[in-house]
C-alpha cells in the first residue's frame, strides 16, 4: 500500500469554488494506525479564535440568562443554535479597568485580549506578553511536536494606523517584543503537520532506511546550527543576544520536531488531504476580484473552512494542543463581498440578494467602514454573522472528532475554544466584549449557558480561570491585570 496513506483519493477539497460544509474526511483507509492510548482526561486543548472589529451589538446579546432553556441565541448567535449545548456566552466581560477606565482603546490595542497589556509603542512591536496561548504553550506545549500553532486568514497588508504591523496582525506573543506571526497558507500548514505523522500501514525496509537517513541528516544540520549559534552568543551585546535567543529557541523547536518526525500516530481512522488552495500575503491582487484585494482564485470562506479542518487535524493527531487563530487582522478593512447582505430582525436574519451595505455609507465598503456605521447596521452584522458561522463550523468538526483514547469523549469535550473580539462594536469600546466559550474543557466549564454578569468581569480573570481551573496551572497566579478566577464560569 502507498506509505503516504494520509493522502486519499477523495478529492473533497479540490477547488476554491467547492463548498466546504462537509465534515472533515472520514476514513478510506482499510488499516488505520491506532493511536497510542493516553490516560483518559489528560489531554486538554485550547483555541483562541479571534475575530476583528467587534459586533453590531444590537443583534448580539442572547435573551434570558442561565442554563438550558432559560436562554436563547440572538440573531448574531443563530449559527450556533445547533451547538447550543456546547457553548457558554459571556456578557459583561471587558477591559475597562485595563485601559484605566478609558472605554475606547484604539484599534492598535485590539490584540490586547490575549496579553492583557496596553503598552504599545508607535514604532516598536511591543504589546505585552506572553499571550494566553503562549502561557499555555510554555506549560503544556512540550507534550506535542508543536508547542502551539499561530494561524489566521488574512492575506492583505495590515492597517496598523502607522503603528507596527505586528500589533494588528499577531495575537500570539512569546514576549512583549516577540510577535509570533501567523501562518496563513493552508498548504504550508498542512505540509508542516503531516511531516510529523507516521505513515499508516507497513513500510518496506528500504523506505525505512531512507527515512532514517533523511532524519539523521536533518538532525546533524540542526546540531551544527545550534552549536554555532551558541558559540556566537558570548560575543554579542545584550540586545543582539536577545535576538539570537529567538533564533536558538526557534531552531530548538525544529530540532525537537525533526527528532519526532514521522512518529506521531494518526488518531483513529481519519485521513487527510492536502488543501488545494494556497494563500499568502502580498500576492498579486486581482483587479476584478469580488472581494477587493483578493489574490486570483482566493476565497475567504474556503480559506476559513480549511483552517478549521487543519485545527481539527492537528488536535485529532495530537500534534498540538494550543492554537491561536485570527479569522481576520485587527482593524481589518477586508472587503467581504463574497457574502450577500443579511437582514437582521428579532432573533433571526435572512439573506437577501444584495451586496453588503450600510444605510448611511452605501455599499462597496470594507469591514472597517461597515463597522463605523453603527451597531445596528445589517452590512456590519452580516460579516459578524459569518465569523460566528466559522466558529460554529469549528465546533461542528471538533464535536464529531472522537478522542483517540477510547474514552468515548469527543475532542471538543476536552477543548476550550475562546471565540472573541477585542472590542465591543462600532464604538471601539473595550467593555461588553463579544465572547463565547466553546467546549467544556474536560468537563470544567459550564455549557449551554448564558452568563450575564451583573458587574463587568475582567477579561484577564477569564483567562486566569482557563489557566488555573481549565488546565490546572495553579503555578500561574496572574495573567495581565487579573485579580482572581471567575468561579461562575465553572461547572
Amino acid at each position: 500500500m502507498n506509505p503516504k496513506t494520509w493522502l486519499t483519493r477523495r478529492n473533497v477539497l479540490r477547488g476554491a469554488g467547492v463548498g466546504l460544509a462537509l465534515p472533515w474526511l472520514e476514513s478510506l483507509c482499510p488499516a488505520p494506525v491506532q493511536a497510542q492510548a493516553q490516560p483518559a482526561g489528560k489531554t486538554k486543548r485550547y483555541v483562541f479564535m479571534y475575530f476583528s472589529n467587534g459586533v453590531a451589538r444590537a443583534f448580539w446579546p442572547p435573551t434570558g440568562a442561565g442554563a438550558g432553556s432559560a436562554w436563547q441565541v440572538s440573531a448574531l448567535l443563530e449559527p450556533l443554535k445547533p451547538y447550543k449545548q456546547f457553548i457558554q456566552v459571556l456578557s459583561n466581560v471587558g477591559q475597562t479597568a485595563l485601559f484605566n477606565g478609558n472605554p475606547n482603546p484604539s484599534h492598535s490595542q485590539l490584540c490586547a485580549p490575549t496579553t492583557s497589556c496596553t503598552v504599545n509603542d508607535v514604532a516598536k512591536p511591543i504589546l505585552g506578553g506572553p499571550s494566553i496561548d503562549q502561557v499555555l504553550a510554555q506549560n503544556i506545549g512540550s507534550a506535542t511536536p508543536f508547542k502551539s500553532l499561530s494561524i489566521g486568514c488574512s492575506t492583505m497588508p495590515s492597517y496598523p494606523d502607522g503603528r507596527h504591523p505586528a500589533i494588528s496582525r499577531s495575537i500570539s506573543w512569546a514576549a512583549s517584543d516577540q510577535p509570533l506571526y501567523k501562518e496563513v497558507n493552508p498548504q504550508t500548514l498542512f505540509d508542516n503537520l503531516v511531516k510529523q505523522l507516521a505513515p499508516a500501514g507497513a513500510t518496506d525496509p528500504a523506505t525505512e532506511a531512507a527515512t532514517k537517513l533523511r532524519k539523521d541528516r536533518d538532525i546533524s544540520v540542526l546540531e551544527y546550527v545550534l552549536d554555532e549559534a551558541n558559540s556566537i552568543g558570548p560575543k554579542l551585546s545584550a540586545s543582539d543576544k536577545r535576538r539570537l535567543d529567538q533564533f536558538l529557541t526557534s531552531v530548538q523547536e525544529i530540532e525537537t520536531r525533526a527528532k519526532a518526525q514521522g512518529t506521531a500516530m494518526t488518531g483513529g481512522t481519519k485521513m487527510y488531504t492536502r488543501p488545494a488552495m494556497s494563500a499568502s500575503y502580498n500576492e498579486r491582487a486581482d483587479p476584478k476580484s469580488v472581494s477587493l484585494n483578493d489574490p486570483t482564485g482566493y476565497n475567504r470562506n474556503t480559506h476559513a473552512e480549511l483552517m478549521n479542518d487543519l485545527i481539527s487535524m492537528a488536535f485529532e493527531t495530537d500534534l498540538t494542543r494550543v492554537v491561536s487563530h485570527m479569522l481576520d487582522d485587527a482593524r481589518s478593512d477586508y472587503h467581504y463581498h463574497f457574502l450577500k447582505q443579511r437582514n437582521f430582525q428579532g432573533a433571526t436574519s435572512v439573506e437577501i440578494d444584495a451586496p453588503l451595505s450600510t444605510p448611511l455609507q452605501g455599499d462597496l465598503l470594507g469591514l472597517h467602514a461597515l463597522q463605523h456605521d453603527g451597531d445596528n447596521n445589517n452590512g456590519f452584522a452580516t460579516v459578524n454573522h459569518w465569523f460566528v458561522q466559522k466558529f460554529g463550523s469549528l465546533l461542528d468538526r471538533l464535536s464529531k472528532a472522537m478522542e483517540p483514547d477510547g474514552s468515548g469523549k469527543t475532542v471538543l469535550d476536552n477543548t476550550i475554544v475562546v471565540f472573541m473580539s477585542g472590542m465591543q462594536g462600532s464604538n471601539h469600546q473595550a467593555n461588553l466584549l463579544p465572547i463565547v466559550l466553546g467546549g467544556g474543557g474536560g468537563g470544567v466549564f459550564k455549557t449551554d449557558y448564558h452568563n450575564n454578569f451583573p458587574q463587568e468581569v475582567k477579561l484577564a480573570d477569564v483567562h486566569l480561570t482557563v489557566l488555573q481551573s481549565g488546565f490546572g496551572l495553579t503555578n500561574v497566579t496572574k495573567h495581565g491585570n487579573s485579580s482572581g478566577i471567575v468561579p461562575g464560569l465553572l461547572v
Binding site: H164, Y181, I254, S278, R284
Partner: protein
C-alpha cells in the same frame, strides 16, 4: 493558482540588469581560499593589510548600532541567486515580512519556529537542486571530495564556499565545526559529494548566513569603532543590491582598501551602475513611494472599469523607471515636482490621454508638455495608491504627502471616530447632478469638531490634487457634473491651486530634502532613526548640499557617513 506567473515582474529592470548579472555569475572563481589565514576575518574591527591606517571617526557624531540583521525575504532570494546561481525564489513560500519603516529594519525582523522551519527546508531544497544542476554545483564543488573524514578537498570547499556563505573568512574553529558535519555523514555512509552537500546545507541553515552579524570587540563599550571591511562590504551590497557582496567587493575587503573613503565612493558608483541595483529601486523607492502597494491595490470594478492588471503593472513600472531616472541621470531633487517626463506603454498612455507610443507593452520615455501632468504628483502610481477603491481620498493624499515627503506625519485618527451622516458613496462614476461630491462631503466632515483637528490639515492638501481621479486620470469635473476647483492649502495657510503649484511649494520646503535624507538613512542602515541621529542627519544635509542635491550624491554621503562605517556596543 498563486503561481509564479501571476507575480509581477519589473521587466524594464530585469532588462537592463540581465547582461551584468550574467557576467557576475560567470566570474565566480574564488579569491578567498587563504582568507582564514588572515586572522579572524569578520570578527576583527580593524582594517586589513594594505589599508592606510584605521578610519577616523568624526567627534561628536554617534554612529549608533544595528542589531543582528536577519536577511529579509528579498535579500534571501537575491543572496541565494548570487551565491548559487539559482533561479528558484525560496522566500516566495516564507511568511510575509512585517516591515516597519522599511522591510529591512533589523528590529522588525524576528524569528519564529515556523520561519526557521522555512529557512531549514529552503537550504535542503537548494542543495537538492544544486546536486542536480551542474551549473550550480560547479560554483562551489571546485574539487571532488572523497568519502573520508577530514578530506582535504572538503576542507578546501568549506573554507572557500563558507567564505561566500558567511560573507567573510571562516575562523579555524568554524571550519572544524563544519568538517564535523562532513565527517559525520561519511561515517553514516554518505559519499564525498553527499557529505559536502550536507555540510553546505548546514552552513546555509546557520545564523551566520541568515543574519548579518556585526561584532563589537567590546560589546558593552559605547566607544565607536570602525566596521570590519567585510562587514562594510555587506552593508554596501545589501544597500545597493539587496544581496551579498560580489568578488570585487570581497577582494577590496580582503586587502582592506574598502575602508578608505575614495574606494567606498568608487564602489558606490560601480554598484549603482550594476544591474543588480534594480533591487535598490524596487525596495527603497518601492516602499518609500509606496509603488509596491499597487501589487495589492485593487479598485471597485464597477467604478473604475478600465483598471486592469496591465494598467496597474504599467503604473508600477513607471514609478520605478521614474525614480530610476533620478538615479541614473543624477537629476537634481529640485526636478522632483517639475520634471515633465513620463514612462508609458500604450495602455498607460491611453490612460493618461496621451498618444500611445506604439510600443505595445514596452515602457517608453515620453515628454508631453501640453497636458496637465507633471512631476511626481502626476504619477498614476502615487495618485492611485493614495485613493480608496472607489474614489479619491483627499485625506489620504494629504496625509501621505505630509508623512512621506515631509516626514511630518499627522497624528493617528482618534480612537472613537464618530459616524458621519453621508448619503450614497460619492463614487467617481456618472452620478445625477446634485449628488454630494467628495469635496462637499469632506467639508461636512470638517464641521465636526472631533474630526476637524486633523482634517483641516490634511484635506486641503489633497483637495488641490482633486483633478486627478482615484486611478490618476486627469479630469475637470466630478461624475455628477460639478466642476472641480483645485484650490488647496498647506497647514501653514499657504494657498495654492492644483498639483503644479503644490509641487512647487513642497519642492521649496526644506523639510522635503531633510525627509529624503531621513528615509534613505533609515533604509541604508536598516534601523530606525534615534534621537542621537540628529547630529548625523544634520551633517548629512550639509555635506549633501555641498556635493549637489541629487539622490545619487545623497547615497554616497550616506555611505561615507559615520553611521554607515562605524558602530558601537551598548552599555550594559
Amino acid at each position: 493558482m498563486m503561481s509564479e506567473s501571476v507575480k509581477r515582474r519589473w521587466s524594464a529592470g530585469a532588462r537592463w540588469g540581465a547582461s551584468l548579472l550574467a557576467l557576475a555569475s560567470v566570474a565566480c572563481s574564488l579569491s578567498g581560499s587563504n582568507g582564514a589565514s588572515q586572522g579572524s576575518g569578520g570578527l576583527t574591527s580593524g582594517p586589513g593589510p594594505g589599508a592606510g591606517g584605521p578610519p577616523v571617526i568624526e567627534m561628536g557624531v554617534d554612529p549608533g548600532r544595528v542589531e543582528i540583521h536577519r536577511l529579509n525575504n528579498t535579500e534571501y532570494n537575491n543572496t541565494v541567486r548570487d551565491l548559487l546561481g539559482t533561479q528558484s525564489k525560496p522566500a516566495a513560500k516564507f511568511l510575509a515580512e512585517e516591515g516597519l519603516s522599511f522591510d529591512n529594519t533589523a528590529t522588525a525582523l524576528g524569528m519564529t519556529s515556523s520561519q526557521y522551519d522555512a529557512y531549514f527546508g529552503a537550504a535542503r531544497d537548494l542543495m537538492t537542486e544544486a546536486a542536480a544542476t551542474p551549473a550550480e554545483l560547479t560554483r562551489f564543488m571546485t574539487c571532488m571530495p572523497a568519502a573520508k573524514a577530514g578530506d582535504t578537498c572538503a576542507h578546501q570547499i568549506v573554507e572557500s564556499f563558507g567564505f561566500k556563505i558567511y560573507r567573510r573568512p571562516l575562523e579555524v574553529g568554524e571550519i572544524e565545526r563544519a568538517m564535523k558535519v562532513f565527517d559525520g555523514d561519511v561515517t553514516r555512509g554518505g559519499s564525498g559529494s553527499d557529505a559536502m552537500l550536507l555540510t553546505a546545507r548546514a552552513m546555509l541553515s546557520a545564523a551566520n548566513f541568515l543574519y548579518r552579524i556585526e561584532y563589537d570587540q567590546n560589546p558593552t563599550s559605547t566607544t565607536p569603532h570602525s566596521l570590519s571591511a567585510y562587514e562594510l562590504a555587506s552593508r554596501l551590497s545589501y544597500l545597493h543590491w539587496s544581496s551579498m557582496p560580489d568578488d570585487a567587493l570581497f577582494e577590496l575587503a580582503k586587502n582592506g582598501t574598502l575602508l578608505t573613503p575614495a574606494t567606498l565612493e568608487a564602489q558606490a558608483d560601480r554598484m549603482l551602475a550594476d544591474g543588480r541595483s534594480a533591487a535598490f529601486v524596487e525596495s527603497f523607492a518601492g516602499q518609500w513611494l509606496a509603488i509596491r502597494k499597487l501589487i495589492t491595490h485593487s479598485v471597485t470594478p464597477q467604478v473604475f472599469t478600465t483598471y486592469t492588471t496591465e494598467l496597474s503593472d504599467a503604473m508600477l513600472q513607471e514609478g520605478y523607471l521614474w525614480f530610476q531616472e533620478f538615479l541614473s541621470q543624477n537629476r537634481p531633487l529640485s526636478d522632483w515636482f517639475t520634471a515633465d517626463f513620463n514612462y508609458v506603454n500604450d495602455t498607460l498612455a491611453q490612460h493618461y490621454g496621451m498618444t500611445p507610443p506604439g510600443s505595445g507593452a514596452q515602457m517608453t520615455r515620453v515628454v508631453v508638455t501640453t497636458d496637465q501632468r507633471k512631476g511626481f504628483f502626476g504619477l498614476a502610481s502615487f495618485l492611485t495608491q493614495t485613493s480608496f477603491p472607489s474614489r479619491t481620498s483627499p485625506t489620504l493624499r494629504g496625509a501621505w504627502v505630509l508623512s512621506e515627503l515631509l516626514c511630518s506625519p499627522p497624528p493617528p485618527p482618534p480612537n472613537n471616530v464618530p459616524k458621519l451622516d453621508q448619503s450614497a458613496t460619492p463614487a467617481e462614476m456618472n452620478q445625477p447632478a446634485g449628488t454630494e461630491n467628495v469635496k462637499q462631503r469632506l467639508e461636512r466632515h470638517r464641521a465636526d469638531p472631533i474630526c476637524a483637528g486633523c482634517h483641516r490639515i490634511l484635506d486641503p492638501i489633497g483637495l488641490g490634487l482633486e483633478r486627478f481621479d482615484g486611478i490618476g486620470r486627469y479630469r475637470e469635473a466630478y461624475g455628477n457634473g460639478d466642476a472641480i476647483d483645485p484650490a488647496g492649502m498647506l497647514p501653514d495657510g499657504t494657498a495654492f491651486a492644483g498639483a503644479d503649484q503644490l509641487g512647487q511649494l513642497i519642492g521649496q520646503d526644506p523639510r522635503f530634502p531633510a525627509c529624503v535624507t531621513t528615509k534613505l538613512f533609515t533604509y541604508a542602515l536598516g534601523r530606525d532613526v534615534e534621537a542621537f541621529d540628529a547630529a548625523s542627519l544634520q551633517k548629512l544635509q550639509t555635506s549633501w548640499a555641498a556635493r549637489g542635491p541629487t539622490i545619487r550624491n545623497l547615497m554616497k554621503e550616506v555611505v561615507l557617513s559615520n553611521a554607515f562605517r562605524f558602530r558601537r556596543g551598548e552599555a550594559q
